[in-house]
């Protein structure tokens, strides 16, 4: 490493040791709270807090017996799947245009599509709620679907764009030269090449939707809960061992899902 070459032997050792300690502390800071939730989920104590009294799986059992939590999971999964699919279709089209073509107003459109990233979610929640109510669309699943799609769209555009950059037009040109028509080219060449980007974009959008709470609190119909709003409502009374169990389940799902997705994309890319 060039850095090492410029360094005198032994120099700055204390500095690096301090940096290493600092970084270890930051990593502990990032992981300790997650570990604490998982730990408490298996605690047999009724209080949902320390001290650890014994090992128990009962809170997981209670969790799956709780119909309102199961319902919240269903709502969340349907919402994440549909809004994720919608955002992915719209986002992939936009990303393809931005990566493959040069045209007038490209910079401006790119900025416009990224603008919502810095929009405070509370304001977004208020705005869409008022506007859709005005055009006679009160709080409902449809509002949630539209809202979640719009919230994840800019992320999909950016993430997919980053993955499409390596895609060269020469593959498609080769297909045309060899006599394929536009439709055939798209389904036989383009689609297989961009499918990792599609899967990646979809997983990203679905995760964002599954995780969203602030805007959802504005858009959901009273009585309908997604998993995050359900947890939020439960937390307003008090923390219970059941919530810790739910937290542990959510941690496992939200960490495993992207891992499996990433693995599948890589495998898929290899076999092609």
């Amino acid at each position: 490493m060039s850095m090492a070459a410029a360094r005198q032997p032994g120099e700055g050792r204390i500095g690096w040791a301090l940096l290493r300690l600092w970084s270890i502390a930051v990593y502990l800071f990032m992981f300790a709270p997650i570990v604490v939730v998982i730990l408490l989920a298996f605690n047999s104590s009724r209080s949902g807090a320390f001290p650890m009294e014994g090992f128990s799986l009962q809170w997981f059992g209670k969790l799956f017996a709780n119909q309102s939590i199961v319902d919240a999971f269903k709502t969340s999964l349907i919402l994440a799947g549909t809004s994720g699919a919608l955002a992915t279709v719209i986002g992939i089209m936009a990303a393809l245009a931005l990566v493959r073509y040069s045209f007038k107003g490209k910079e401006g459109i790119q900025t416009f599509l990224s603008l919502p990233l810095l929009m405070p979610e509370v304001v977004m929640g208020v705005a869409l709620l008022m506007f859709l109510k005005f055009i006679s669309m009160p709080r409902s699943f449809a509002v949630l679907l539209l809202g979640h799609t719009i919230l994840s769209l800019p992320y999909v555009v950016l993430v997919v764009q980053a993955r499409l950059v390596g895609l060269r037009a020469s593959y498609e040109e080769a297909a045309w030269t060899l006599g394929a028509n536009r439709l055939q080219t798209f389904f036989e060449v383009t689609l297989p090449l961009i499918s990792p980007a599609i899967v990646g974009g979809f997983l990203f959008a679905a995760t964002l939707s599954f995780d969203n709470i602030t805007a959802t609190l504005f858009w959901k119909k009273p009585g309908i809960e997604t998993v995050p709003t359900k947890i939020f409502a439960m937390l307003r009374t008090s923390i219970s061992p059941e919530i810790n169990a739910l937290g542990a389940v959510m941690i496992v799902i939200t960490i495993l899902l992207p891992l499996i997705g990433g693995y599948m994309v890589r495998r898929f890319a290899k076999t092609k």
Binding site: S2, W22, M30, P33, I90, A127, A162, T214, F218
Partner: protein, 287 residues
């Protein structure tokens, strides 16, 4: 326009249309709504009057709330810099074998649900939480410390959520610096500290700036974290918006508060854009 020339616009039209209809139009509508009249019967009537705005400007409570929100966001950003910069520097520059694994680990908590990550701080800081259990276990204190439901726990929760944004932005920036520049500074007689201060730090400013802006904007706009981890005296602007819209159903006034929030954060972003590039911020999302 020929078909080939129209194609990119056709591909972009669903995205542009949906953003215009579901984001731009609603935000403009909120501005209009802030002038509407709320009748005594609780009906919102289209109007152009300044009553809602007068209510806002005449009550310093709302300015206090805005001030306290921005103060908390600023402290959160500062803590993220202090925790994140050295860590990003370590990840980018240390001679370590598992750099990829360490980077991956840093982003793992990112995927964990926001509400769970926020909730976990109740388990850490609560009366019977992890910290108090450890402190009482080793006999430092007999009474649990009151660590939860105050500004401290709000800042901890916000930092916990924002820190990975800061670290990735600074890391990418540091990683992109030509190492020869640092070597040159050393050869020309700089001490390691001088070479850091004169070469590395200025060149990493775009990443530091992007990370800071994100931290600030996301922290100031958060509703759930202050709500769950804050105390009864915690004053947070997004909470006031929620109260006005969902609890009191005073939509015209909620519209006023939303416009204020948007303008206040817009000013911060505009000042940032005057000195730094916003495109760095946008690009950081794609990583």
């Amino acid at each position: 326009m020929s078909r080939a020339l129209a194609r990119p616009y056709l591909l972009l039209s669903p995205a542009i249309l949906s953003l215009s209809l579901l984001m731009v139009a609603p935000v403009v509508f909120v501005l209009a709504y802030s002038f509407w009249l709320r009748t005594a019967e609780g009906l919102d009537v289209p109007a152009f009057q300044f009553g809602n705005w007068a209510n806002f400007f005449s009550d310093e409570f709302y300015w206090l709330a805005l001030y306290s929100t921005f103060k908390t966001a600023l402290i959160t950003t500062a803590v993220c810099i202090v925790l994140g910069y050295p860590t990003a520097y370590f990840l980018a520059r240390a001679e370590i074998k598992n750099r990829g694994l360490l980077l991956f680990l840093m982003f793992l908590p990112f995927w964990v649900s926001y509400i769970i990550r926020t909730m976990s701080w109740i388990n850490v800081l609560g009366k019977n939480g992890f910290v108090n259990a450890v402190l009482m276990g080793i006999g430092i204190t007999d009474e649990p410390f009151k660590l939860l439901y105050n500004d401290f726990s709000v800042i901890m929760g916000l930092v916990y959520f924002q820190l990975p944004y800061m670290i990735i932005n600074v890391y990418v920036s540091l990683d992109g610096i030509d190492r020869n520049l640092e070597s040159a500074a050393r050869v020309l007689g700089c001490t390691p500290w001088q070479s850091f201060r004169e070469v590395t730090l200025p060149l990493s400013l775009p990443g530091l700036g992007a990370g800071s802006l994100l931290c600030f904007v996301l922290a100031a706009g958060s509703y759930v974290t202050p709500r769950l981890l804050g105390g009864t005296d915690t004053l947070f602007f997004p909470d006031l918006i929620y109260e006005a819209i969902i609890s009191q159903l005073d939509w015209p006034f909620g519209a006023v508060l939303s416009v204020v929030m948007l303008v206040a954060l817009g000013l911060v972003i505009a000042v940032y854009n005057r000195f730094m590039s916003l495109s760095d911020v946008y690009r950081s999302f794609a990583r």
